[in-house]
Amino acid sequence: MIKSFSSRRVTPVILATALGLAAVGCGGNSSSGGDGNSFEFWSFSGINQKAAVEKYEAANPDITVKLTEVGTTQETAQALTTALAGGKVPDLVLIQGDDLPRFVEQPQNFHDLREFGADERKDDYLDWVINQSVARDGSIIGIPTDVGGMAVAYRTDLFAEAGLPTDRDEVGALWPTWEDFIEVGRQYTDATGNAFIDNAPTSVFYQAVNQVSQKYHDADGELIHDTNQEVRDAFDLALDAIAADISAGQASFTEGWSAGMQQGAYAVVAAPSWMLNSIRSNAPDTEGNWDVATIPGGAGNWGGSYLAIPAKAANPEAAWAYISEMQSPQGQLEHFLDSGALPTTPEVYDDEDLTASTDPFFSDAPIGTIYTDSLLGLEPFLIGPDSATIGNEFLNALTAVEQGGADPDEAWDTALANIRTAIGQ
């Protein structure tokens, strides 16, 4: 019995333990294998990506899509970063426009989609949209799936109570500029005692700052966020809206924001096209009480996403087949009719299905034309790797004024100082 504890036996035990650990350590690197009939797809939660995937699987019965809804757009980008650094990557991944520049800066992590013939399809898409996914070396990293487009969603019932017009054309005519918009808000709040907008940083600043000719970078990619008068104007507009006391101070996508939307605590939400889905799912009981009007200040774009294929993907061809079918002009049109995500392919903007498309949740508003009109004639601005960080610091400085009582006169300087620290310049 004691023999069993001889050193000869002990050594294998230690070795086995060590090998076991080594095996655990290697587990992360094994890939799912490139069988070509299935691929892994990482997407955001809350955009009902499942519907599109099921549609694709129904049309291609031999293909299996392993869909993972990772989380918010930011969480998905974080997960992708970790995956790219760690080696185990999905075959197809959805990247939000704000997160895209950081990945475009490192194109070696992705398949150049020109390998699959993306350069021949490039002209299908709005040039300023697809150009954001073209890297310095000319490789195309991602195919755009949708763009934001901009509009304002408002509650017709609450507008009627406040004595404001409810017809979408009349409402749009109330606010050709943001100053007019704030004035309408003042009238509404005076009449009802309730807040007009959900929050000023998102519904005013984030909209106005996306209607500029240059945003945080000039045409050469140099940072101009601190000197650009257009950015400063958008920032001051938000401060004016806060001073006018027309905001509910509910930060977008929080519990309080959802609850306020359900209870009619505010009457207006700035609504890029993807926001319509969010309103629909957050406040289902308000169906028919909403309508959509044009946004003050004219054309603009907020948001939009891209599909990319990581360089180490096991099934790049299967992933490209998905992109190729679902992101063709026809595929995007069908997706718009199903979900309301705005196509990036201008040739379908005149399509009768799109122009005739209305949404019963939003009082049969012709959402197809409202949003595409906001995109045509848009002057694209450059988006850089620090754009998301800069925008976030501006937003935080405004939120601190709106909710925390920070001094509005110091907000701009605070934001600039925080940006300097954040981007290390």
Partner: protein, 327 residues
């Protein structure tokens, strides 16, 4: 496989004694046997140390290494020496996070330990029906998912629709915007942390209280010591080792609070409030690493946090040895 060397009922003789005795007649040879016996214990503890080396030591050392680089996780890595650390020293956000961490730690630990001590004393003395049930209930917050606890608490603390502000409104106070004020947000996070650990700490105290012989209290009562005197002169001194243990563990845990601030501020998850009202050090680390993709800078924050924990652990050690020697 059963031999005298296997762990089991503790031998009555001191552990050093049986070695020679075991090397008696029935082994293949005294020398070889002694070697096996010497190696065997190491193989028993080896799994822990191997796991520690892979999941503890290696990441720790690798973090020190990364901290010397400008390290983009999906791009270039440039050696920059100690630049990350000088930048950290000048970074107001780092000191803000340090202040927040210490404040939240203090607010969550001190009231929690005091309350746990009191409750354990009560649970030990007062004759309760269903005492077992109440003791087990204390563990429920501890086994509940942190994320679930945080989300429920965050709703209770909400400015417009929260239960707490509704109650405050009944007595004419508020509403308090918990996420927009440094002090209030710290109280909010500290409440969540204390809620989770309170029951666990109470049970630890209760367990050691039950190890104190009842005769000690009876003798004190005979000598005329009242409840307070008994608590002060018997309970506290007997609990000293476990109190030190809970202070050390809650300090180390308190410096690493992460989930609560991340999930409490859904609008600004990476900063916990628009002006970093309740951003802790670990959340600042996460913001830099995964929000800004600056792994080198994030690693430097990790190293600084490590250094702080080492210093606090040392202070704890010195204090506790002093207390022990005073006993």
């Amino acid at each position: 496989m059963r031999t005298r060397t296997l762990p089991g009922p503790r031998p009555s003789a001191p552990p050093t004694a049986p070695k020679g005795a075991a090397a008696g007649a029935d082994g293949p040879g005294p020398v070889r046997h002694r070697l096996a016996e010497r190696i065997a214990p190491y193989s028993y503890i080896a799994p822990f140390f191997l796991l520690f080396a892979v999941f503890g030591l290696f990441p720790l050392l690798f973090t020190f290494y990364i901290a010397l680089f400008d390290w983009n996780p999906i791009g270039d890595r440039t050696f920059i020496g100690f630049d990350n650390f000088t930048r950290l020293w000048d970074d107001g956000r780092f000191w803000n996070a340090t202040r927040n961490t210490l404040s939240i730690w203090f607010l969550s630990t001190v009231p929690q330990l005091l309350a746990a001590l009191l409750l354990a004393h009560l649970l030990n003395h007062v004759r309760l029906r269903f005492a077992g049930f109440f003791r087990m209930t204390m563990l429920v917050p501890y086994i509940t998912s942190v994320a679930a606890t945080t989300i429920v608490f965050a709703q209770m603390f909400d400015r417009d629709y929260g239960l707490l502000n509704w109650l405050l409104g009944l007595v004419g106070v508020g509403p308090i915007n918990f996420l927009q004020s440094t002090g209030a947000s710290h109280v909010m996070i500290a409440t969540m942390v204390a809620w989770r650990w309170f029951g666990y700490t109470t049970l630890l105290y209760l367990a050691s209280l039950q190890a104190i012989p009842r005769e000690t209290y009876e003798a004190a009562a005979v000598d005329g010591a009242g409840g307070l005197k008994q608590f002060w002169h018997i309970t506290i001194p007997s609990l000293r080792p476990i109190i030190i243990f809970t202070v050390v563990t809650s300090t180390i845990g308190g410096l690493q609070i992460f989930t609560e601030p991340l999930l409490a501020g859904r609008a600004t998850p990476l900063t916990c409030g628009p002006t970093r009202e309740c951003q802790t050090l670990t959340l600042f680390l996460y913001e830099q690493g995964f929000g800004g993709y600056e792994f080198g800078y994030a690693a430097a924050i990790g190293v600084a946090l490590f250094a702080m924990i080492v210093v606090i652990a040392l202070i704890n050690y010195l204090l506790s040895t002093r207390i022990r020697s005073e006993r």
